[in-house]
């Protein structure tokens, strides 16, 4: 979707403003928001692609006007309601009836192992890759309503494959409960002048990771 998250090449956001001696969290609620998001994810009802799509589907003023942990919190509320874990009434009241532990609730002593395991997204794939290193490719002008990881700023532009990465879960499918549908993934480099025309900085390029169905031979 062409949502508020697709920020590459957009203008008007000002200077970067890195903070000296930045703390890992700026408030206690940010710590809890991170922990709740990860712990609720372990329930297994949604995947990382669905959770990204929930964040990028927030209203533009919210997405662009709030901190990243607020974005995470609001998306988590959406996901928990969508999957029937909590009701709008509970969210409005801030309270709920006590219930026994969910079978997939993560106990504290499982946290280290769960974080260490992570969630690998590479998948075996039978088909041969359509593209090879050095191939000239064009990013398709895809404009899906749903989730995609093809950034707007490369669509329609010419690049070159610089690496083949093997099979990976396809987010555009996985985000919507349509299965992992793995595809070959490629690292594709676009020269700055191809993306930004005369405004490009000399000697600059951008490399993205693109699934096979994002690309065509050029």
């Amino acid at each position: 979707m062409n949502g508020p998250h697709d920020l590459g090449g957009k203008m008007g956001f000002g200077a970067i403003a890195p903070e000296a001696e930045e703390p890992i969290f700026h408030a206690e609620w940010e710590e809890r928001a991170l922990g709740l998001t990860l712990a609720a994810g372990v329930l297994g009802a949604w995947n990382i692609d669905e959770s990204r799509h929930a964040r990028e589907s927030l209203p533009w003023p919210i997405y662009l006007g709030t901190s990243y942990y607020e974005i995470w919190t609001r998306a988590l509320e959406v996901l928990l309601q969508r999957h029937g874990f909590i009701t709008p009434e509970e969210l409005a009241s801030g309270d709920a009836q006590t219930a026994p532990a969910h079978p997939r609730r993560m106990p504290a002593d499982a946290v280290d192992a769960v974080l260490a395991r992570g969630g690998p997204t590479d998948r075996a794939i039978e088909t041969a890759p359509r593209f090879g290193v050095g191939d000239a490719v064009r990013a398709l002008n895809l404009q899906p309503n749903g989730h995609t990881r093809l950034p707007g700023y490369v669509r329609g532009h010419l690049g070159r494959v610089v690496a083949t990465r093997g099979g990976f879960i396809f987010p555009d499918s996985n985000a919507h409960g349509n299965g992992e549908a793995p595809q070959h993934l490629y690292s594709v480099r676009f020269q700055g002048a191809e993306l930004w025309g005369g405004a490009a900085e000399p000697g600059s390029s951008v490399t993205i990771d693109a699934w096979e169905s994002y690309l065509e031979h050029a």
């Binding site: 922990g35 990028e56 928990l80 969210l91 106990p107 900085e201 000697g203 600059s204 951008v206």
Partner: protein
């Protein structure tokens, strides 16, 4: 956060996000969906255990150990796992070696993808619309705001983390560090130098 000087401690005067997240945690806990002690443990992990010291150890070892550097180039996930750094947001690692000809810089224009296993949680600026919008279009201008000026002849390769590959920049080893141990070298490897918005510090302490 709002500042208030009244009604402290009675729970009715919390700032909006504190109240919102606390309510959510209450609901999830009562419904048996999360264990608050597990949340504590997650926070402790990223507050105290996993952070840029991990990545600095990887870079320092690569500077000192050509065999390790080769393994890091060929299979970064496995090489980094040798050092015990594994897991969430580090499942599929790639190492990008800076050279006099090429400087690498990492961004996630679509969200906040970042190599947690070696760098910990991303700083606010990395997740900001300013960085995400500009890094791909004007990387040298962005670098200048971080105090980094590259030679004119150095190309800038920006890597937009659009998939689950996570990128670790290996900055160039500073001059004047011959014979240094990996531990000494690691002190020169800043977080920003591993994102590509900085350079390694020099023995004098300056990038």
């Amino acid at each position: 956060m709002h500042d208030h000087d009244h009604d402290q401690g009675d729970g009715s005067d919390l700032d909006e996000m504190t109240a919102r997240v606390r309510a959510l945690e209450t609901i999830l806990t009562k419904k048996g969906l999360i264990d608050p002690a597990a949340v504590d443990r997650i926070i402790d992990t990223y507050q105290n255990k996993v952070g840029p010291k991990n990545g600095a150890a990887v870079v320092a070892r690569a500077w000192n150990d050509p065999d390790f550097a080769r393994r890091l180039r060929d299979d970064a996930t496995a090489a980094i796992a040798e050092m015990g750094f594994v897991g969430r947001q580090g499942e599929h690692m790639q190492a990008l070696f800076n050279t006099p000809e090429t400087h690498h810089m990492v961004v996630c224009t679509l969200c906040s993808c970042y190599p947690w296993s070696v760098l910990g949680l991303p700083p606010v600026w990395y997740k900001s619309p300013a960085y995400r919008s500009r890094a791909v279009r004007e990387p040298r201008a962005v670098l200048a705001e971080f105090g980094v000026t590259l030679d004119k002849g150095t190309d800038v390769q920006v890597w937009d983390s659009t998939a689950e590959l996570r990128y670790l920049v290996v900055p160039m080893r500073p001059d004047g560090t011959e014979g240094w141990s990996a531990d000494e070298l690691a002190d020169l490897v800043s977080r920003d130098s591993m994102i590509g918005t900085g350079l390694a510090l020099t023995p004098g302490g300056k990038p």
